[in-house]
């Protein structure tokens, strides 16, 4: 007698999780722990997971430092067997493209975005007047 079919890896490791946090420092740890838990479902190394925790924290911190308490930070994590894509949307009213500003900043102000770019495999950001500025970060398994 045959047992149940093994689950399709694509089905078990693919998904989307959304999180909305207040734009305040005390909530960054929630984003960090959530991304860590999601990354743990994929075959990332411990070092990769630490990189992801730092990258999501830096993305949230960049928004918070631009205007603490204004609006929310919307985070979406999309998983597949080979990569984790994290969307971080700045929902502050009257926002500017803070990710572009910080990437051009000198000194310690630019450190956060610099770290994101150094630790992730792919980083891009888009500006939408209605939806807000979005940073997209991709980490690939085994890259």
């Amino acid at each position: 007698m045959r047992g149940p079919e093994p689950p399709d890896l694509l089905d078990t490791l693919s998904g989307r999780v959304e999180l909305r946090i207040p734009n305040r420092p005390e909530w960054v740890a929630v984003a960090r722990l959530t991304v860590s838990a999601i990354a743990n479902r994929l075959p990332f190394s411990v070092e990769d997971i630490e990189d992801l925790k730092l990258a999501i924290a830096e993305a949230c911190t960049t928004v918070i430092q631009a205007g603490e308490g204004e609006g929310t930070i919307d985070i979406a994590c999309e998983t597949s067997p080979s990569e984790l894509t994290i969307h971080v949307r700045d929902r502050r009213p009257n926002r500017t493209d803070v990710f572009a500003e910080r990437s051009e900043a000198s000194g310690t102000e630019g450190l956060g975005v610099f770290l994101i770019q150094a630790l992730m495999d792919e980083v891009r950001h888009t500006v939408d007047a209605q939806a807000g500025t979005e940073l997209v970060m991709i980490k690939r398994v085994g890259a």
């Binding site: 005390e26 924290a57 830096e58 911190t61 450190l111 956060g112 770290l115």
Partner: protein, 114 residues
């Protein structure tokens, strides 16, 4: 989320700031306050022990850099104690290994201040 800050005087006219937990945008002001207080009191040779720190981000790095800049204005120095490979990696990526003395233990960090 937690951060522990313990300040103590060492034997060689230096102060040790022992940190534990996570240093991020929420907790780094507490670290900044401790370092600022020491500098305001005229203590310009500091060892910052990161051995019990599990996590540090750019705001934490910014606090350390700010402290180093201030003590250097008075001819002082900041040495770090760090053994966590992930945290060492962050200092490496950012190039901060070139501006901080980074040691495996407090004894080495204190000797290098002298």
């Amino acid at each position: 989320m937690d951060i522990k800050v313990n300040v103590r005087e060492s034997s060689d006219d230096a102060y040790v700031v022992e940190l534990g937990g996570e240093i991020d945008v929420y907790t780094s002001p507490k670290v900044k306050d401790a370092i600022t207080e020491l500098i305001d009191q005229g203590h310009y040779n500091l060892v910052i022990n990161l051995e019990k720190v599990r996590y540090i981000d750019s705001t934490g790095l910014g606090v350390l850099i700010g402290g180093l800049k201030r003590v250097r204005e008075h001819g002082g120095s900041v040495n770090l104690v760090c053994t966590n490979p992930q945290i060492k990696k962050i200092f490496d990526i950012t190039g901060l290994v070139k501006i901080f003395g980074i040691f495996d233990d407090e004894v080495g960090a204190q000797k290098a201040l002298a």
